[in-house]
Amino acid sequence: MTELLNTLYVQTQGSYLRLEHDTLKLDIEGKTAAQIPLHHLGGLVVFGNVLLSPFLLHRCAEDGRSVVWLSQNGRFKARLSAPTSGNVLLRRAQHATLDCPERTLQLARRMVAGKLQNARTVLLRAAREASSPESEGTLRGAAALHAQAILGLPRLRYLDEVRGAEGDAAGAYFAAFNAMIRTQKADFTFTGRSRRPPRDRVNALLSFLYGMLRNECASALEGVGLDPQVGFLHALRPGRPTLALDLMEELRAPLADRFALTLINLGQIKPQDFTSRPGGAVELNETGRKTVITAYQKRKQETLTHPLLKKPVPVGLIPHVQARLLARHLRGDLLEYPPFFYR
């Protein structure tokens, strides 16, 4: 199994990263701020104006360390793409699966089932801890809707119906989302999902976390030799990592939403961690990003019991485990893809 290596996040504007022997050296304003042996790092994520030396990039490409460039607000910009490696037979199997409507449908169903089940678990868990009877009612209602949708999945015959079921459930989920916020209610009110740009603090936080999760899913898929652009549930579009989006669906609620709620409910994140832009956009500012990333990195080191492997797995490795299971299914070693079920 892959070791969960640390990810270095660099958000100080104007910093410069370079390779020195087998270490990464980080200069901020001409002074070395850190020097880290490369073997501790699984990847780099840099925000905004951060420079990387060509030789560092070459080395990361050779070793298969991921490098991701994000805008200062965490919007995905680019990824380092190393020479295509991995298993061409696996990628052929991936494409063959997409060419077979029944298999695609079945896979999409499993993915949506995973997503709905995990969203339901998050709703029910929030319902148990709800601050008021009305919140609890709202959450239980949404959870019941999810349960129904899951039961209805096997009857769906077309991919679009599966997508529709997912969309309906997502609507109900986000309609109930506000009831999961227990503290700082005045400062963190969720009125509906808004992106590009996020229009409130909760949305800004969710968007940021989804961006991080998406990168991790794409890296995990590439790690097992799958093509992150060839997905099943999401429609293909040039430049869109649809398989990463597919994989992300079942992980959103337990790994991102639940985490966002914890940050808010425990008061780890505060209104001051956000900045409002003219025009209504809200984004995390530098201190906010630092708080979120630090907590997120800690979260990745915590362990959850994987329901299939029946052993504790660091949260950060869950996308990798799922990518591997998906590869096994596509190759025909596993009859069905087993989504990750969160408890």
């Binding site: 270095l8 958000q11 910093s15 020097q35 042996p37 501790h40 790092l41 990195q297």
Partner: protein, 96 residues
């Protein structure tokens, strides 16, 4: 595995000073300097062999001394520090 690498390299000659520099450089690739000639490294078994082999190739066994201590477990369990400590835990979130 956490290891502690310490060394004494005889620097009376030009070649000795070069060896000292090389030893430090090699250690830096595997860990971090915690005192002038003391490095703490967290390595796996393969990296450990690599590190030791590289260091053995650099030093002059007649005039230099190299000691590698393996910690039997977590660093926190086996280490007490006093005074200045610039150690950075590379497993902690790295946000800069």
């Amino acid at each position: 595995m956490n290891v502690l690498v310490t060394y004494d390299v005889n620097t009376e000659t030009q070649a000795g000073r070069r060896r000292l520099h090389k030893v430090a450089k090699t250690c830096k690739n595997f860990g971090q300097r915690v005192q002038y000639s003391v490095f703490e490294c967290r390595v796996n078994a393969a990296q450990y062999e690599d590190l030791v082999a590289k260091l053995k190739r650099i030093i002059n066994p007649k005039s230099d001394s190299l000691r590698v201590y393996k910690l039997r477990g977590e660093r926190e369990e086996f280490l007490e520090t006093f005074g200045l400590d610039r150690h950075v835990d590379f497993d902690e979130p790295l946000v800069l």
